[in-house]
């Protein structure tokens, strides 16, 4: 393709990417280095109360938001460098927690950022293998059933993926919360009272269950498509060569699906590192928060109507850096494969 034609084709998406991805990202990065706050001024206020003979006057100093001519609060933006990041990461508190007698990890996880990081990482790393494993198992099973049943089965399998995430999370929540039918069923099975929403770890398990239930169909569809292109000659060679079902899976099917497995893993890592719907859907803020939720909570105006924009920016920059770090091993692997195969 000629360079000019190529440029014409690629231009719209480059423009849109700059407009909607690069510029906001740069803006967030810049904002994370600045702090904006209202300017307060100290004024002397004399209050006089009516009294006998003379009124009693007291003069006191009071700080109040400075208003401009139009009556709006005056804002002042200052460059604070990495101060906001320090505020988030709280290195002194970390050192304190990890020092002898500082309380160790539990103390560390009392700090908002580390609490969110702990949950986000656990969530990301634990759901991934289950999404891949269940997706692959279902794809193999569907590939094995009679052709006429495949359509309906695929449709049913896809339903969880089609549901709006928050609605899906809510429906799971209602199944388990209080006297939800599944809680009642579990209580009946285990013969004891359960309150799955009262404790952090049960909530955490439910959130992960929901995520796997929600995303596994995506993995399933991708793997199922991949299974259709497995070389039948190779598969039958393996049968005649004496490979068991498991060996065929290991030496023929999985290597064939490997690029897809890497793809699904990448997508899933990025998605689950940005876990957010679950926190809202399961109302788990009291027990478990994620990095994305942390950003959200900084953005929520407090009682005085202020948003912690710079902290939110810093937090989202840290989330992005986290995603990049977590993707590095996979990207390196893909790059190496790509170079080997040329």
């Amino acid at each position: 393709m000629k360079a000019r034609t190529f440029a014409l084709f690629i231009a719209p998406s480059v423009v849109l990417m700059i407009l909607f991805i690069a510029l906001p990202l740069a803006s967030v990065l810049v904002q994370s280095f600045y702090n904006t706050r209202q300017v307060f001024e100290v004024v002397q206020v004399e209050n006089c109360t009516p009294g006998f003979l003379t009124s009693v006057c007291t003069t006191e100093e009071r700080s109040r938001p400075k208003l401009d001519a139009a009556g709006r609060p005056v804002l002042e933006t200052t460059f604070v460098g990495l101060d906001t990041y320090r505020l988030l990461l709280q290195p002194e508190a970390v050192a304190q927690a990890l020092s002898a007698g500082g309380g160790g990890l539990p103390a560390l996880f009392n700090l908002d950022f580390y609490r969110a990081l702990r949950f986000t990482l656990t969530f990301t790393l634990l759901t991934g293998p289950f999404v891949i494993g269940i997706g692959l198992a279902v794809a193999l099973a569907v590939n094995g059933i009679v052709r006429s049943l495949r359509g309906p089965v695929i449709f049913i399998m896809l339903l969880p993926f089609i549901i709006t995430p928050v609605i899906g999370a809510l429906s799971i929540r209602w199944l388990f919360i209080g006297d939800g039918i599944l809680t009642v069923a579990l209580e009946w099975l285990l013969g004891r009272d359960l309150s799955l929403f009262a404790e952090g770890w049960t909530l955490e398990i439910l959130m992960m269950l929901y995520r796997v239930w929600h995303v596994a169909p995506f993995a399933f569809v991708v793997f199922y498509a991949g299974l259709q292109t497995v070389d039948q000659d190779t598969l039958e060679s393996a049968i005649v060569d004496g490979a068991s079902r498991f060996e065929r899976l290991r030496y023929v099917v999985v290597p064939h699906l490997m690029p897809l497995i890497v793809f699904v893993t990448l997508i899933n890592l990025m998605d689950s590192y940005r876990v957010f719907e679950e926190v809202i859907g399961f109302s788990s803020q009291a027990h478990r928060i994620s990095l994305q939720y942390l950003t959200y909570s900084y953005l929520t105006p407090d009682e005085t109507g202020n948003r912690a924009i710079s902290r939110a920016s810093a937090s989202s920059m840290l989330t992005m850096i986290g995603i990049v770090f977590i993707l590095i091993p996979l990207l390196v692997r893909t790059w190496r494969d790509h170079r080997v195969t040329r």
Binding site: D231, D233, T234, L235, E236, S237, A238, I239, V240, D241, G242, A243, S244, E247, Y251, V252, P255, H256, M258, T341
Partner: protein, 375 residues
Amino acid sequence: MVGVVLRNVTKRWGSFTGVHAVDLVIGDREFVVFLGPSGCGKTTTMRMIAGLEDPSDGEILIGDRVVNDLEPKDRDVAMVFQNYGLYPNLTVYENIRFPLKVRRVDASTHDARVRKAAAMVELGDLLHRRPKELSGGQRQRVALARAIVREPAVFLMDEPLSNLDAKLRVSTRAQIKNLQHELKVTTIYVTHDQIEAMTLADRVVVMNKGRFQQVGTPTEIYDRPANTFVAGFIGSPAMNLMDGAVAAGVFEAPGVRVPGLVGYPDGPATLGFRAEDAEVAAGPGGEIAAPVYSIELLGDATLVSVRVGPALVAARAPKTFRAEIGDPVSFRIGAAGCHVFDSASGERIEPAPAMASPGPARADLGSTMPIGATA
């Protein structure tokens, strides 16, 4: 002794029958080729022997065992596929070693066996490569090495040369022939290419529409085709077939009169002869006289075709023969070079024994193998 026996083997899919109750005894170390057009059931028959398809009826024996209920891996067969069926993520070495590995063969013997098998197909210096870095011919040799490394009782080859270009096909064909000779393993080979069948086979099984049409040595198949299908399938060009009638030892069709067919019953019949059994002369005079329909220069000969009724009939003339389309020519065919088939069933009709003409049509065909010459 490890032969393969098919007894009444049938394959049905719903109401469609792919293979009709075939019987065959393949001897130890025999090289048998299943030959037929696509969809004739030859591959299905082989897949049933491999265990990749279950027969709907009948018995398959490998050696003395009935293998119907055995898994493919327990049948002691190795198979080579048209599309090679290599493991793309494994190196050539690991590909060849794969059957030994999954069969838990003593690991200390692997290296020697892999290298020996690779050497037999001349792959020695490619062992570290991956399949995608190999040419088609090299890939098929890897597949061959993978088949021989285990020293199976039976080789099954499903159109192994079909994806190779013409030149490579000839050399790989020779390699397969030599390999089978060296290894002395019973081999079943499926192809739609009659030249492969004729050059490789000890015996050829010609199949059509799920039935065996003829089982015999290449010479038998060529010299005495059992019916019009075999006659029309084997040979290059295939045998000329003309519909007409025999009356008192004379075959007649529009423009054709072949006398001397002693011992054949009177009535409608199909007469066949091979292009090389006819002599071409300019002008009238032979058994067949007609204007030239087409003339093809083959290099070593000239192929002259004329129309007889709806059929196109070809004869080989010397390479110097020249004629224009439309020129009158005649073909001289002796009764000895003629084959007579029943016009309804297509089956070969042998002359009545008492009046049989002496000797087969051409006794020397087996050694000269004329079909190869035109390839």
